[in-house]
């Protein structure tokens, strides 16, 4: 039994690893191809099967007048918007989650759980639905095509995630710790900042990682709400989809866009292994 289980375990894990990695390997290989090597049928190994070229990669850094998309600016825009929106979402989300976890709210039939669901339910609306209203909203505020406008929208997108994770987190932190802080002379704010917050770093880190991921991979809002001044990475990359679909540069772009988040994956794993995170997600 254990032997069979071990065998099955390795078999399945390796199988899944192959499945996970396959599209990436394909993308790496494709990113060094050109039109002719793509349309000649599936090939995998450079030099042996096709003549590699850096064209797919160079497109990402050339200006438009030379047929490139120059992702450097959008790259930093994406990082800035994602991090800022995540940070604000965490701050607001953590505060709200703390209130929902520790205090009782009641307004008619609305109770804590309903408020929590209200936060999370913001993610039910498909982005396409919200895009036009958001457009008009930001247009009224004069925030279209601006980093601030995008951050504002991303907060709506990300705060529910932060609230969801942090409510869960706080529910598992004994409330007696806060009570002790109160008894020890802290008012509720001091109790939160001096005692609760320092002990919530793991939870906030998880929430932050999720926010970063969900912010980073959004395409739709970034697409609808910006024109020329502010462009985010996915929008810029999608603009590679011309009449000819350039498999090579899209592959290179896909790899470039996932690269920074691999660092995030390492951070998650590290904290997971150290056990710091495990308390944060349950």
């Amino acid at each position: 039994m254990p032997k069979l289980y071990t065998f099955l375990k390795y078999f399945f894990v390796i199988l899944w690893a192959c499945f996970v990695i396959a599209p990436f390997l394909w993308a790496i290989s494709t990113s060094f191809k050109d039109f002719n090597s793509v349309t000649g049928g599936a090939t995998y190994i450079p030099w042996l099967q096709f003549e590699p070229t850096l064209d797919g990669w160079s497109v990402l850094f050339k200006p438009g007048s030379q047929g490139g998309i120059n992702i450097i600016g959008p790259y930093f825009n994406s990082i800035f918007v994602t991090l800022t929106a995540s940070l604000i979402s965490i701050v607001l989300g953590t505060l709200a989650a703390y209130a929902l976890s520790r205090y009782t709210f009641k307004a008619g039939f609305v109770k804590n759980n309903d408020i929590t669901f209200f936060f999370i339910s913001q993610r039910i609306m498909p982005p396409v639905v919200l895009s036009i209203p958001f457009f008009l909203f930001l247009s009224t505020l004069g925030l279209l095509d601006s980093l601030a406008g995008l951050i504002l929208v991303y907060i709506v997108l990300l705060m529910p995630i932060a609230v969801w994770i942090m409510v869960d987190f706080f529910n598992r932190v004994p409330k007696e710790i806060d009570e002790t802080a109160l008894i020890d002379g802290c008012n509720p704010f001091q109790a939160f900042f001096k005692v609760v917050l320092p002990n919530s770093v793991p939870g906030m880190l998880v929430a932050g990682l999720f926010c970063i991921i969900f912010g980073w991979i959004d395409f739709f809002f970034a697409f609808i709400l910006t024109f020329t001044k502010v462009q985010l990475l996915p929008v810029k990359i999608v603009a590679l989809n011309s009449s000819i679909t350039p498999w090579w540069s899209l592959s290179a772009a896909a790899l470039v866009s996932v690269a920074p988040l691999i660092i995030v994956a390492f951070i998650v794993e590290r904290y997971l292994s150290k056990g710091n995170l495990s308390g944060a997600l349950k």
């Binding site: 990436f24 709200a96 936060f119 339910s121 993610r123 866009s257 996932v258 994956a265 794993e269 997971l272």
Partner: protein, 287 residues
């Protein structure tokens, strides 16, 4: 505890959220009562005409909704089973533990609209690697051009991308389980299978519910994958609600009607999610 301070904690987030959302939501409702289209932009009032059309004369919307239900439930179910299994497998002793863990986390960090392009080339029936590989076995499945396989392809991509999300939540859950119940089970000499059924699984029930719900919410918005992979085709065989709303709204520019479909969708989703939460809690928590 009950202090006035609680409002200071809750309200900033709530106000910001409501403040940003109140306009879009009211606007959507108002828009759904108008005939806004490419020719007549503006909030004229046409009563419930759009709703009548949606409920009596648009099987395509409802088909897309049921297709979405099928896809969402199937993909989330698979993600849960596989994610849980993988988490369980790399939970304890396994070689290259950290490598596998990091690797399994990566798919969810890819931008769907970009990664699906890669998948589209992957599934390409004459130039892609998948059928090139399968030709060894003499088969060339029409991945994107048969109505049933196109659904399978979408499920494959969704499962590829989002199993990592389940994996992360389940692994974190497993790593934070208390040790005592397992010691007790070990003392009782429970088999690994029994240990899983009677100890691990019940302890993981609360996190499972949370993870499934959040994934159902996210999976219901499936749109980029469909758009890039099949554009809803062949025929209409892979259209989902989001895609339908997208086509009506941002392609055909029937803004009023798209808002009607959206609002209806929102209401249905909130009701069905509430029911699903109740059912899941009953089933998984054995209450």
């Amino acid at each position: 505890m009950n202090f006035k301070h609680k409002y200071v904690f809750l309200l900033p987030g709530l106000i910001v959220l409501i403040g940003i959302l109140i306009f879009p939501i009211i606007f959507t409702v108002r828009l759904s009562l108008s005939g806004w289209n490419s020719f007549n932009p503006g909030l004229d009032f046409i009563g419930f005409k759009n709703y009548v059309r949606l409920f009596t004369d648009d099987p395509r919307f409802w088909q897309s909704f049921f297709r979405l239900s099928f896809l969402a439930i199937t993909t989330v179910f698979l993600q849960y089973i596989i994610g849980f299994a993988l988490a369980h497998m790399v939970w304890k002793d396994i070689k290259f533990k950290r490598f596998f863990r990091v690797l399994f986390l990566i798919p969810m960090m890819t931008t769907p609209v970009i990664m699906t392009v890669i998948w589209r080339t992957f599934f390409h029936e004459s130039l892609g690697p998948l059928n090139d590989f399968l030709s060894i076995f003499g088969v060339q499945p029409p991945w994107l051009s048969s109505p049933s396989l196109a659904k399978v392809s979408i499920i494959v991509v969704e499962v590829w991308q989002w199993t990592s999300f389940m994996f992360l939540l389940m692994l974190a859950g497993l790593l934070s389980l208390p040790k005592e119940p397992f010691l007790a089970a070990a003392v009782d000499g429970a088999s690994p299978f029994k240990k899983f059924i009677y100890v691990t699984f019940p302890l993981m029930a609360p996190i499972s519910i949370g993870a499934i719900i959040i994934r159902l919410i996210e999976a219901s918005k499936i749109m980029d994958t469909v758009f890039v992979l099949t554009s809803g085709g062949p025929g209409t065989s892979t259209e989902t609600s989001s895609f339908f709303i997208f086509i009506k709204g941002l392609r055909e520019f029937q803004m009023g009607y798209a808002a009607t479909a959206s609002f209806t969708y929102l209401i249905i989703m909130i009701i069905s999610l509430t029911i699903i939460v109740k059912v899941l809690t009953k089933v998984l928590m054995r209450e």
